[in-house]
């Protein structure tokens, strides 16, 4: 009588599929944002004054593309964040760092020194620890 119904099971599978698809889309959009921002940012020059810089930015397609991607990432992120602890969900975005680092090397030919690689690995380890801590259960009288 209490065995889970077929609809419930397929609902759970679909939920997991949506979650993985959501994260994959999010990481792709965020990585693209960083790459486009890197190109776009090089066109920004504060020496011409903030007003001039903003006017120039709004007139440059690559800047506008960067903002559009940023906004898409923001919408996807809100749907992900809805169901998770900020201290846990936010570090999971660290998967973006791997893809971003790869783009830095492949697209912008940045050199990675041993110190930099070690630093990134320590950050990654820290992020794994952060994200794998479920946190203490909140007792009812405190909540």
């Amino acid at each position: 009588m209490s065995e889970p119904g077929l609809a419930e099971q397929s609902g759970r599978t679909r939920g997991l599929g949506l979650a993985i698809g959501g994260w994959a889309l999010f990481i792709a959009v965020e990585t693209a944002t960083q790459v486009v921002f890197k190109y776009a940012g090089a066109t920004l020059d504060e020496r011409s004054g903030i007003g001039h810089m903003v006017a120039h930015a709004l007139d440059t397609p690559v800047v506008l593309l960067g903002f559009a991607l940023y906004f898409c990432g923001f919408l996807i992120w809100l749907t992900i964040l809805k169901g998770l602890d900020l201290g846990r969900a936010f570090p999971m975005t660290a998967m973006i760092y791997v893809s971003t680092l790869a783009s830095a090397v492949l697209l912008f030919h940045e050199a990675l020194s041993p110190t930099r690689i070690a630093g990134v690995m320590v950050i990654a380890l820290g992020v794994v620890l952060l994200a794998s801590d479920r946190g203490e259960p909140v007792s009812k009288d405190e909540a």
Binding site: K38, G41, G66, L86, T115, G119, G126, L130
Partner: protein
């Protein structure tokens, strides 16, 4: 990497932490419901709007930093905002991090220091 880039980097991290905390505060106040009701409530939430305005300034600041610094330096170092999120989660969101999360925050800070030091 000049002083302006470092200052704007710090601004970016702080605005990111503010934005994430504000989003979560806003989202926590939105009851579960249909997608239409959810997005309508998102658009009307003062916390989400405040976080979004911070996000807009952050975007410009971050774009400048990326344009003037190596992506392989400031990209990984932006992980410092996770440390900020653990702090604001504890202080303002009622989250209860255990030792493991604090240790993680410490390692992220150490790693960010190493990445920054690799610039010299």
């Amino acid at each position: 990497m000049g002083l302006i880039s470092w200052l704007l980097f710090a601004l970016t991290v702080m605005l990111d932490v503010f934005g994430q905390t504000a989003f979560k505060l806003g989202l926590d106040r939105i009851p579960d419901g249909s997608p239409v009701a959810f997005w309508r409530a998102v658009a009307a939430s003062p916390w989400v709007i405040a976080g979004f305005l911070g996000y807009c300034v952050e975007a410009v600041s971050w774009m400048y930093v990326l344009g003037h610094a190596p992506l392989s330096i400031v990209g990984p170092m932006a992980a410092l905002s996770y440390v900020g999120a653990v702090l604001t989660g504890r202080l303002f969101l009622g989250e209860r991090p255990r030792a493991r999360r604090w240790l993680g925050a410490g390692l992220v800070t150490l790693g960010a220091g190493l990445v920054g030091a690799s610039l010299v």
